[in-house]
């Protein structure tokens, strides 16, 4: 992985052109190249990078002259906050709508929900984001269009969702990012509900005289949450990794925005470090999903299997 990324990034463009003054003389150009270590052969650069990476140093940004890792880690809370809010929105909005549509598959209200989810799937995120800004920020003036707003420091991390101003800044980008996931969850929840409603255990639950709300909220919901959690867990990784578009549209100061800026400036160490961190996040999230899975589905718990 690190090899592919490193080589892939290093064969594109010439960062020196971007960095130096166009009027600089040849000697100065040579000095910059040597400073950045670009005069050495690629395999040497790579081994140098790996050696440093093992010590936790992913290189220095060409532009800021600071540690790439530090620059990215500083931006993680903003992205995380955005992705987590989007995830919560996806569950809170998607699951009830999906269950409802699954219970009454032929009702007009359900068909409307499903049609809406198709829109959520197919409309490009950046366009929806721009439209949201136009309607809610420009025309109605209800919500701010850019930035994080006021932040509060909790355990040394800057968060927006605890201030009213921050929350109003957070709402639009989070909703924008969540739109696709909401549609996905609606479809998953609907399919799961439709399947579960015909299962004997639902009929048996009714035959036991349970109230309809208990049948749906406990018996059906617990079963459909298994696929929903699995898929959302995997999607959470992509929410973090690819919030790039939303962060750019709403000028949200997260990792995605940093990545786009670095791509513009050919700031190679940051790009490489970003991708490395994303891989790490993906691995961790997959682990969490597996653990959650065993919490939800008793059949995959190894501990009890032998009984």
């Amino acid at each position: 992985m690190s090899l592919i990324v490193f080589v892939g990034v290093n064969v594109v463009g010439d960062p020196v052109d971007m960095l130096i003054n166009p009027e600089a003389d040849q000697a100065e150009i040579q000095r910059v190249i040597r400073d950045l270590g670009l005069d050495r052969p690629l395999h040497e650069q790579y081994l140098f990078f790996v050696g440093n990476a093992l010590e936790g140093d992913l290189g220095k940004s060409f532009i800021f002259g600071e540690s790439a890792l530090k620059l990215i880690v500083q931006r993680i809370p903003a992205t995380f906050e955005l992705a987590l809010t989007a995830l919560i929105l996806a569950v809170v909005i998607g699951v009830p709508l999906g269950v409802y549509a699954g219970m009454r598959p032929t009702a007009i209200s359900s068909r409307t929900i499903m049609a809406g989810s198709i829109l959520g799937f197919s409309l490009p995120t950046f366009w929806v984001g721009l439209m949201m800004i136009m309607v809610f920020a420009v025309m109605l003036g209800w919500l701010p269009s850019t930035g994080r707003g006021d932040t509060v420091e909790v355990l040394g991390i800057e968060v927006s969702f605890l201030t009213l101003d921050g929350l109003s800044h957070l709402l639009m980008p989070a909703l924008n990012l969540a739109l696709l996931k909401i549609s996905l969850v609606i479809r998953l929840a609907r399919a799961g509900t439709r399947e579960a409603m015909h299962q004997d255990y639902v009929k048996f639950a009714r035959a036991k005289g349970l109230s309809e709300s208990r049948v749906i909220l406990v018996h059906v919901l617990k079963n459909i949450m298994i696929p929903v959690v699995t898929v959302l867990g995997l999607e959470f990784g992509s929410l973090i990794a690819f919030s790039v578009v939303t962060e750019t549209v709403f000028a949200w100061p997260g990792m995605g925005k940093l990545l786009i800026d670095s791509l513009h400036n050919l700031d190679r160490p940051i790009i490489v470090a970003y991708l490395m961190i994303i891989v790490l996040i993906f691995v961790i999230i997959n682990l969490i999903v597996d653990v959650l899975y065993s919490v939800l589905d008793p059949r995959v718990r190894i501990k009890d299997a032998g009984q």
């Binding site: 004997d200 048996f204 035959a207 036991k208 005289g209 349970l210 008793p298």
Partner: protein, 332 residues
């Protein structure tokens, strides 16, 4: 409620399924009674409407099916007049049901204790969780599950099929119902387990005075268990009466055919009798008697729906040409 009011009195029950291909008359004028402590066997082949009859009584017919007419009198009260909430209170409390496939009836992601306790608390929220657990444990012990305390904390997948069916029976028994509707509860089990379950069911009925409707296609099961038998064909009961009487002297040609196709000790080496043809589609039942196309005795009279007659004391038959000679060999 007088002493001789039956626990359940089903009168002219009709449940139809309104499908795109037409109306399927799954249950079409079924009448029978279940006395207190009585076990009634509801027998018929697949698609004869026996399961739908069971679900109609408990009010759980899936759309597009609907009970269109008739009465289901439980202790004299018509269940079809009850509200959804009224019916819910009755289900699992006074009338319980056991399903066919024990692998599917228990919710795979909920522990057995959860599924049992909720059954008690749905009908009496004042029962504390501790008391409900104690009752659940007793019920598991009652149906012969070893180490009930430990089993309560297990999930359904940790039980075998026979054990799961015992759990389902224990759940049905939790609130000491007056009536249990058992929809082919032993069909999915192997024969030894089937015998155990039947034994338990019979014992529990006798001990608690619970009435039971046992839906099955297996005549051997009914023979050992039921007091009364109702034979269904094409959505109607074609013959009903006392279990021994009907099995020894079947009057309806269909019942005779069914009994004749059971292998016995005396028929060794002989070719087994088979009812010719196939069960008719419920979507287009023939005019008149549904069995006419397969009946050796059918003639032009059978194109009219036969009324219920009582050829012998305690017997009801829908047939123009019943076998009334009591010395006639069965299956001939």
């Amino acid at each position: 409620m007088s002493a001789d009011t039956p626990t359940l009195d089903v009168r002219e029950l009709k449940t139809h399924f309104f499908t795109k291909a037409g109306v399927a008359r799954a249950v079409d004028g079924v009448s029978f009674t279940v006395g207190k402590g009585e076990v009634v066997g509801l027998v018929g082949e697949s698609g004869s409407g026996k399961s739908v009859t069971g679900f109609s009584i408990i009010g759980l017919v899936d759309p597009p099916g609907r009970v269109v007419s008739g009465e289901v009198l439980y202790n004299g009260q018509n269940l079809l007049d009850l509200s959804d909430e009224g019916m819910r209170k009755l289900r699992g409390d006074r009338i319980a049901m056991i399903f066919q496939d024990p692998m599917m009836t228990l919710n795979p992601v909920l522990r057995v204790d959860t599924q049992m306790v909720e059954t008690i608390r749905a009908h009496d929220p004042s029962v504390s969780k501790t008391d409900a657990l104690a009752r659940a444990r007793d019920a598991l012990g009652q149906v012969g599950i070893p180490a009930p305390d430990e089993r309560l904390r297990s999930y359904p997948h940790q039980f075998s099929g026979g054990m799961r069916q015992r759990v389902a029976i224990a759940i049905a028994l939790l609130n000491k119902p007056d009536l249990i509707i058992a929809d082919e509860p032993t069909t999915a089990l192997d024969v030894t387990i089937q015998g155990q379950i039947l034994y338990e069911a019979q014992k529990l009925c006798r001990e608690t005075g619970t009435s039971m409707i046992w839906i099955t296609h297996d005549l051997a099961v009914v023979a050992g268990l039921a007091d009364k038998i109702c034979v269904m064909y094409g959505g109607r009961i074609v013959e009903q009466g006392g279990i021994d009487d009907v099995l020894d002297h079947p009057v309806h040609p269909y019942t005779r055919g069914l009994l004749g196709s059971v292998p016995g000790h005396n028929t060794r080496g002989q070719r087994l009798y088979q009812i010719p043809g196939m069960a008719p589609s419920l979507l287009n039942l023939p005019e008149g008697c549904a069995f006419q196309a397969r009946c050796p005795r059918a003639d032009s009279a059978c194109r009219v729906e036969p009324e219920i007659t009582k050829p012998v004391e305690g017997r009801e038959v829908r047939c123009f040409h019943p076998h009334l000679d009591r010395n006639e060999e069965v299956g001939a």
